[in-house]
């Protein structure tokens, strides 16, 4: 047995910290961190267009919509995917689903994972989206629900407003709070584990439909 197993765990903390201090006995010198990298995209970038292009690049499907035409856009996505039973987190605007013929399943009280697994899809909003990387970030805010909600159903319909799109990763982090649980999503679940051939759809939703509300 190594010495670790016999001593009380509180000792381990002191031992490890002591070892680190000993290892740093040479007092390595401190230097300023150079941050010369770009924090935003060039000012003439059409961020909305870039977002749509990059999301599509990762084989999510993007549907452009106007604010007024949103319910119709969502309805056509759900019809095309044959989704009949849909998880709808709290905070989804009633107007988004107006007149749409699907069974809406709320999550209050929280449904079991097995029940969630049986639904056809989920509809959510998002906290922020990143144009350069084609990423959507969910942080459990209004209209997004807990993390399991956008994970177990096989179809994720995500509504993104153009005002939510930022250009770069640094800009997105600046808008987000580390205290909220986040899921960053860039395209549908994928693997390249078999001969490096990309396959969409392993454990997360195999279909990601982004409905993008243009100004």
């Amino acid at each position: 047995m190594a010495d670790g197993a016999s001593a009380p765990p509180s000792d381990a903390r002191e031992v490890v910290l002591g070892r680190i201090r000993d290892a740093l006995a040479d007092r390595p010198s401190s230097a300023a961190i150079p941050r010369d990298y770009e924090r935003s995209l060039p000012p003439d970038t059409d961020i909305a267009e870039l977002f749509v292009e990059r999301v599509s690049d990762y084989r999510a499907t993007v549907h452009r919509s106007t604010a007024a035409g949103l319910a119709a856009s969502i309805a056509s996505v759900l019809t095309a995917r044959g989704a009949k039973r849909l998880a709808v987190p709290g905070g989804i605007a009633e107007a988004w689903l107006e007149g749409i013929d699907v069974e809406r399943v709320g999550d209050d009280p929280p449904m079991s994972f097995r029940d969630l697994d049986l639904l056809d899809g989920v509809i959510t909003g998002c906290a922020v989206a990143i144009a350069e990387t084609g990423t959507i970030v969910l942080d459990g805010g209004p209209g997004q629900g807990r993390r399991a909600l956008s994970l177990l159903p096989d179809l994720h319909v995500c509504i993104v407003a153009s005002s939510q799109v930022v250009g770069s990763v640094p800009e997105a982090l600046a808008r987000l709070s580390p205290t909220r649980p986040q899921t960053w999503i860039s395209g549908p679940s994928a693997t390249s584990d078999i001969e490096l051939q990309r396959v969409e759809g392993i454990h997360g939703p195999r279909l990601l439909d982004v409905v993008f509300i243009e100004d």
């Binding site: 190594a2 961190i33 993390r147 982090l173 860039s186 693997t191």
Partner: protein, 504 residues
């Protein structure tokens, strides 16, 4: 079928890297495997090209690398204070922090938590740290089933095999081999492979989805690693592609994260550097499909209990070496594997460690204590598993000068062997002769004249083929040719022609 039904039909133990022969021997075996070489060659070439394309999109890539290296150096410099800060922040957010001096202690902590909750199985997200401590084997000995859920890790586990790449652990297997493993092994441990399963990657992925879904929905405890931990906020970050990470990190009631003490970044803002460096270097994407970020416990969303285990297991030995400590900047992207001419031909298993390739060649010997004491033959062979071509340094997103550390570790190997051998090794004699020769220009001149003479005697067509005679020199030439030394040395030519000004 219950998940434990097939337990006793599985192999008695998880395979380990223990017993891997020294690198030259293991490499010879690997080189003889044509399937392996073909798979590796194709895979590494594909990912090299893709990485180059997404890196070229960023004109400021070098600035990102410089920032990444500097942030990681700051982490190492301020490690005690940052770890204490992380511990406070995680605790304040409802998490429980544990410290582990070594693998045994870390494994015991995990097993203790699992037992405390009367659980008999855990689902696992791919994690280098838990492979390093051989957690699966330790839990199995406690009667706890461990399910790897990353597709490649699952292929490795079901095949009673060892991983061969940090990012794509089953890179050595082709689709037909994988289909056969699924057909023969899945039913033993859960939902069987669908009837008539083909070797199409989409069908194989679907089989994995169905097989693992029942385990995700059932599991009460998950184990993960961490890509980054933010000291300032106590936030943990895990990057992945398949969604198995999200399943493990959000569905079970209990989450245990095992993380090396060097995986910190000081501030939330620092993630802006690494969330750009890692995906482009690793999977050659602008961003990986899924990144999960959480801080402690969030009521109503995800696990209700979160344990963070801070693991030393040799890292403080690495930190004590002023040249070698830069290896602790590593963010496990595996870009250095994909560009390495040695790795490309031998694959990862020849390195006899969970950390293969160039980074493994410098990290493994240090984690095994090479700075402090002599190491076994296999470990001592790793710093030589390189041609020192430098491609690894060029692609490293945190600018680890791997060739510099390799040379430094070779020095340690030679010093250890001098200290333990009464008769000096051939290499030590050679190095000492070289040092003597190079010490003064006169000695070098004499040696060059002798070499020029030798070249005229043995060189044919400008190549030295066999040097006559037994011993190490003869052995070296049995598998190599060397350009014959010029008849006149550069130094002699310079003297004779006044640096070319006096004509040829």
């Amino acid at each position: 079928m219950s998940g434990t039904a097939g337990t006793d039909r599985r192999a008695e133990h998880e395979p380990t890297f223990a017993g891997t022969p020294p690198f030259p021997e293991a490499a010879r075996t690997a080189l003889a495997n044509e399937q392996l070489r073909a798979n590796l060659g194709r895979a590494t070439a594909t990912i090299r090209t893709k990485r180059a394309a997404v890196v070229a999109e960023r004109a400021d890539w070098e600035s990102l690398r410089l920032a990444g290296a500097a942030i990681k150096d700051e982490v190492l410099r301020d490690l005690p204070a940052l770890l204490e800060q992380l511990e406070r922040a995680v605790t304040d957010a409802g998490g429980i922090v544990h410290w582990a001096r070594d693998a045994t202690e870390a494994n015991a902590i995990v097993a203790g938590i699992v037992r405390e909750h009367d659980a008999t199985e855990v689902v696992k997200v791919k994690s280098m740290a838990t492979q390093e401590i051989e957690l699966n084997e330790a839990l199995r000995q406690e009667g706890i089933d461990v399910w790897e859920t990353d597709l490649a890790e699952m292929i490795v586990q079901l095949g009673h095999d060892l991983p061969s790449h940090i990012l794509v652990p089953a890179i050595h297997r082709n689709r037909t081999e994988i289909r056969d493993i699924f057909r023969e092994e899945m039913w033993r441990v859960g939902r069987p492979a669908p009837d008539g399963l083909s070797d199409d990657p989409s069908d194989l992925a679907e089989a994995a989805r169905l097989h693992l879904r029942e385990k995700f929905l059932r599991a009460r405890v998950a184990v993960s690693g961490a890509n980054f931990a933010v000291a300032e906020t106590g936030t943990i970050v895990v990057l992945e592609s398949e969604g198995n990470g999200r399943m493990c990190l959000t569905l079970p009631e209990i989450l245990i994260t095992v993380m090396g003490i060097e995986k910190l970044v000081p501030t939330w803002r620092d993630l802006e550097v690494f969330l750009q460096l890692l995906p482009r270097s690793s999977t050659a994407e602008r961003m990986n499909p899924y990144t999960s970020i959480w801080t402690g416990v969030t009521p109503g969303d995800g696990p209700r209990e979160f344990h963070l285990i801070l693991l030393d297991n040799g890292r403080t030995d690495v930190l004590s070496d002023t040249t070698g400590r830069q290896a602790l900047r590593c963010i496990r992207c595996s870009a250095c594997l994909n560009v390495c001419p040695v790795y490309e031909r031998t694959g990862g298993q020849a390195y006899g460690s969970v950390y293969p390739g160039p980074i493994g060649a410098i990290l493994t010997p240090q984690l095994r204590g090479i700075a402090k004491h002599p190491v076994d033959k296999q470990t001592a062979s790793l710093p030589y598993a390189s041609s020192l071509c430098g491609a690894c340094f060029d692609v490293c997103p945190v600018r680890i000068d791997i060739p510099e550390v390799l040379v430094h570790l070779r020095g340690q190997v030679v010093r250890h062997s001098e200290a333990t051998h009464r008769l000096p090794t051939a290499e030590a004699v050679g190095m000492r002769a070289a040092a003597w020769t190079l010490r003064t220009p006169r000695r070098l001149g004499l040696a060059e004249r002798a070499a020029g003479l030798g070249g005229r005697l043995f060189g044919r067509g400008g190549r030295l083929r066999r040097m006559p005679g037994p011993g190490p020199v003869g052995a070296w030439f049995r598998s190599r040719d060397l350009k014959a030394p010029a008849r006149e040395s550069f130094r002699a030519w310079w003297r004779r022609t006044d640096g070319g000004r006096g004509g040829d």
